[in-house]
């Protein structure tokens, strides 16, 4: 091959050479987790360590994604690279699904197995008799020791139903935005993508008010036995994912404003849209199994 090969021979699969971002990321995460552990152990300087780590993680994301966006804009990614990104994102989302599955599994196990067993069901008559004699296995429950004291739950067809409507609507708006992008209608794209993340943040806001209500008026807390544990961990991790998803939507929106993406080339948009749908589906599971049934 006589001609000097540039870093991005048009048809070739682009292999980046040397990058400082991963090592920056690994060191930052190390510092951040060290800080978090110190925080939990009540070490004085811990907040500084944690926030320093956190800030450098953000810096890493900014730098790393910045580099990738730059390369993408420079046309260095051929169809093969695009496909790798797609597959990577898909399997990442699958791993997230499995993370939530652990918590849904815990909820299932508690409701259908361990709580009835505590109440003496099946072969567990004796454990109930000797250990937890007066325990009535109902759901919701905070267990035979009534951990955290009496509490009330949040009815499904109040705020949670509204939140369901909000997230489902945001699923529609992002689809409209996607069609607009494919049709080259940038105006519509900007409006509907903007609407999507506004709905997302609104959802998070409503969840926050719901949490405040639960803590202050219903005495429903993370410490309310197994009900409180599953309720807050599931909705909490979901809320975290909505927040992250909404932030990603904002980034995509800013890129749209800068004129990025073409009707054919917009992997980042699609990746975030997939993520958003995933968050949506998890919510439906939550609505049904945590709030409703």
């Amino acid at each position: 091959m006589a001609h000097a090969q540039t870093a991005h021979d048009a048809g070739k699969y682009y292999i980046p050479h040397g990058s400082k971002w991963p090592i920056v990321g690994a060191v930052s995460l190390f510092v951040m987790m060290l800080g978090a552990a110190a925080l939990l152990n009540g070490v004085n300087v811990a907040p500084f360590i944690f926030w320093a780590g956190f800030a450098s993680v953000l810096f890493m994301f900014y730098g790393w994604f910045g580099t990738v966006i730059g390369e993408s804009q420079a046309g260095m990614y051929n169809a093969g690279v695009d496909k790798s990104f797609r597959m990577g994102m898909m399997w990442f989302i699958f791993s997230e699904v499995m993370f939530f599955a652990a918590f849904f599994g815990a909820l299932y196990y508690a409701r259908n197995l361990s709580v009835p067993w505590l109440g003496g069901e099946g072969a567990k008559y004796l454990s109930n008799l000797f250990l937890w004699q007066d325990f009535e296995p109902t759901w919701p429950t905070n267990g035979p020791a009534a951990v955290g004291g009496a509490f009330e739950t949040i009815p499904a067809f109040g705020l949670p139903a509204i939140n369901t409507a909000i997230l489902l609507t945001s699923g529609v708006t992002i689809t409209i935005a996607h069609h607009a992008l494919q049709a080259g209608n940038r105006g519509l794209l900007k409006i509907f993508l903007g609407l999507t993340f506004l709905l997302g943040f609104f959802f998070v806001y409503l969840q926050a008010t719901e949490y405040a209500h639960a803590y202050h008026e219903l005495n429903l807390t993370l410490g309310s036995g197994i009900y409180g544990s599953t309720f807050f961990m599931l909705t909490g991790f979901h809320g975290l994912h909505v927040t992250i998803g909404a932030i990603m939507l904002v980034v995509i929106w800013l890129r749209v404003m800068k004129g990025h993406f073409t009707p054919k080339h917009h992997f980042a948009f699609e990746a975030v849209a997939w993520y958003w749908h995933f968050v949506d589906v998890v919510w439906l599971g939550l609505f049904i199994f945590v709030y409703w049934l």
């Binding site: 090592i23 990321g25 190390f30 496909k83 597959m87 399997w91 197995l113 993370l222 197994i226």
Partner: protein, 533 residues
């Protein structure tokens, strides 16, 4: 399978500087090259193997004689716990990931891993994780000591080490997930033209399936330890009956991860053995398709057997029956594999170079571990075996002369391809025989101890167990010392030695694209995809 390569490496010369490795330490910190990253993983794994090994020797030294000699019980428990965590997540898994990094692109004709920057991230995150874990040993209250399974409520009594250990697992898990995604994407997207799925070498195949297992179960493990964390610090009661939770719930979630995890360690080993036996039998692998399907069925079954680790927790009878039978079912595809390896050698023209020796030892000794596994799968019998040294003997047979021997076989098989030099075969033979003799001396007596009722995870024992414990400890030190030879052989080979040919092994013709590139493999290979016919 044959490959025609138009002009891969010859072109490497007129590339500008971007194409060579960077200089000094920055090369290793910032590299995106699959060979560099493979090397990093392998070196890391070796260091961890010796760290975890030193801890094992502390355990075996204490158990050399009955009575309390060297360490206090808390520290003893820390050693068993951290030894296991290091061996599993720091030695065996990174070793197979390192091999995957080096060999998968070479075997499928890919220019590199599909997501090279993330590849580097996976590696350095692992270093971050193990720094946290090692740090946890020096915390007030001592290191984690509740066993590598981290069962509550015991694990919740861990001191300041607790959050460090949990976060170490989070980071190691993230590293594994990213590594797995990279492997899947590389295999699914970057195969050379003509390299159809059913032409892929078995090492690549087994890794593809392993990667799916990883993505499916590492997040579940992350969830489980997150629940431990909130139970400890934030007042949740996932695993406390008082609040309506159940400590057994943890065991279910853990083993839903844990059983596939053992296949994550052994499937790549299966792949390695399936590469080596044909080469040194000078035959094609017997029943290639069956091997692929057997691997896939093992992977599938591994998701529905987890509670065989929990026969004694008081599961309903139906549960015990189900998990007993599903576990035994795994013997079927595993039997297919052992049969096929044996049939590959049938009427082959066999030679016994070091990789083949290790692969053969794998075949016999892994199978011993498989049989003791079957014994424990019988629920009523397991009531006896559970938590005794019989279990320790079982999992060490599958892990040490199983996974670890396969990894050593792989190193001896591909080292000349990596370094361009042949290693000292005579010393390697010594390494093999010493390892094989000592590993049996180390672990075989533990069967007897277990059957006689010696519990695992204890620093002291009744005098009736004294003899076999002493034998086992002698085996342990012998095995540990023999591994110094391994390091010596590798270092010597990296520094020089007789020049290796491109196909290295006489029988390696027609066994994978990795033998079509020069030895040592140039920094960049297959920049133009070879065509596989």
């Amino acid at each position: 399978m044959s490959a025609s390569q138009t002009h891969g490496h010859a072109a490497a010369h007129d590339h500008h500087d971007e194409h060579g490795p960077a200089k000094g330490i920055m090369r290793w910190l910032t590299t995106t090259n699959h060979k560099d990253i493979g090397t990093l993983y392998l070196v890391f794994s070796l260091i961890m193997f010796f760290t975890g090994g030193a801890m094992a020797l502390v355990i075996r030294a204490e158990l050399f004689m009955p009575g309390m000699q060297l360490v206090d019980p808390q520290f003893f428990n820390t050693m068993t716990t951290v030894h296991a965590l290091i061996m599993v997540f720091g030695a065996v898994m990174p070793a197979t990931v390192g091999l995957a990094n080096w060999m998968i692109p070479l075997q499928i004709g890919a220019p590199d891993m599909a997501l090279p920057r993330m590849n580097n991230f996976s590696f350095w995150l692992l270093v971050a994780a193990f720094s946290l874990l090692i740090l946890s040993l020096f915390m007030p209250g001592g290191g984690p000591a509740a066993g590598w399974t981290l069962y509550p409520p015991l694990v919740l009594q861990t001191g300041d080490a607790f959050p460090l250990a949990i976060f170490a697992i989070h980071l190691a898990g993230a590293s594994s997930i990213m590594g797995a995604i990279n492997i899947i994407v590389t295999i699914m997207n970057l195969r050379a033209p003509g390299m159809t799925l059913l032409k892929m070498p078995l090492f690549t195949w087994t890794w593809l399936i392993t990667a799916y297992l990883l993505i499916a179960v590492m997040p579940v493990f992350a969830g489980a330890v997150t629940m431990l964390l909130t139970d400890h610090f934030f007042g949740t009661t996932f695993f406390a009956a008082a609040g309506g939770g159940d400590p057994v719930l943890y065991q279910h979630i853990f083993w839903f991860f844990g059983h596939p995890e053992v296949y994550i360690m052994i499937l790549p080993a299966f792949g390695i053995v399936s590469e080596i036996i044909p080469t040194f039998s000078r035959k094609k692998l017997f029943g290639y398709d069956a091997m692929v399907y057997a691997t896939a069925s093992i992977a599938f079954l591994s998701f529905i057997v987890w509670a065989h680790h929990m026969f004694t927790v008081g599961m309903p009878l139906a549960g015990q029956m189900f998990f007993m039978l599903s576990t035994m079912l795994i013997a079927v595809p595993t039997g297919v594999k052992v049969f096929n390896w044996t049939a590959t050698m049938w009427k082959g023209s066999l030679t016994f170079e070091p990789p083949m020796l290790f692969a053969l030892a794998f075949l016999f000794l892994f199978t011993i571990g498989g049989f003791s596994g079957l014994m424990m799968a019988i629920a009523p019998a397991d009531f006896q075996y559970h938590d005794t040294y019989f279990v320790v003997a079982h999992f060490h047979y599958v892990l040490v002369p199983g996974a670890v021997f396969a990894i050593m076989a792989a190193v001896y098989y591909w080292l000349p391809k990596w370094t361009g030099h042949l290693y000292d075969m005579k010393l390697a033979n010594w390494h093999f025989w010493l390892s094989t003799i000592f590993v049996n001396l180390l672990f075989f007596p533990q069967h007897f101890l277990g059957l006689a009722g010696m519990p695992r995870r204890i620093p002291d024992y009744s005098t009736q167990f004294a003899d076999w414990n002493m034998v086992s400890s002698i085996g342990a030190f012998g095995f540990g010392l023999s591994q110094l030879l391994f390091v010596y052989i590798i270092v010597k080979c990296a520094r020089g030695g007789a020049k290796a040919s491109d196909h290295v092994w006489e029988g390696a013709y027609n066994h994978g694209l990795e033998w079509t590139v020069p030895s040592p493999a140039p920094y960049h290979t297959f920049e133009d995809a070879p065509v596989v016919k």
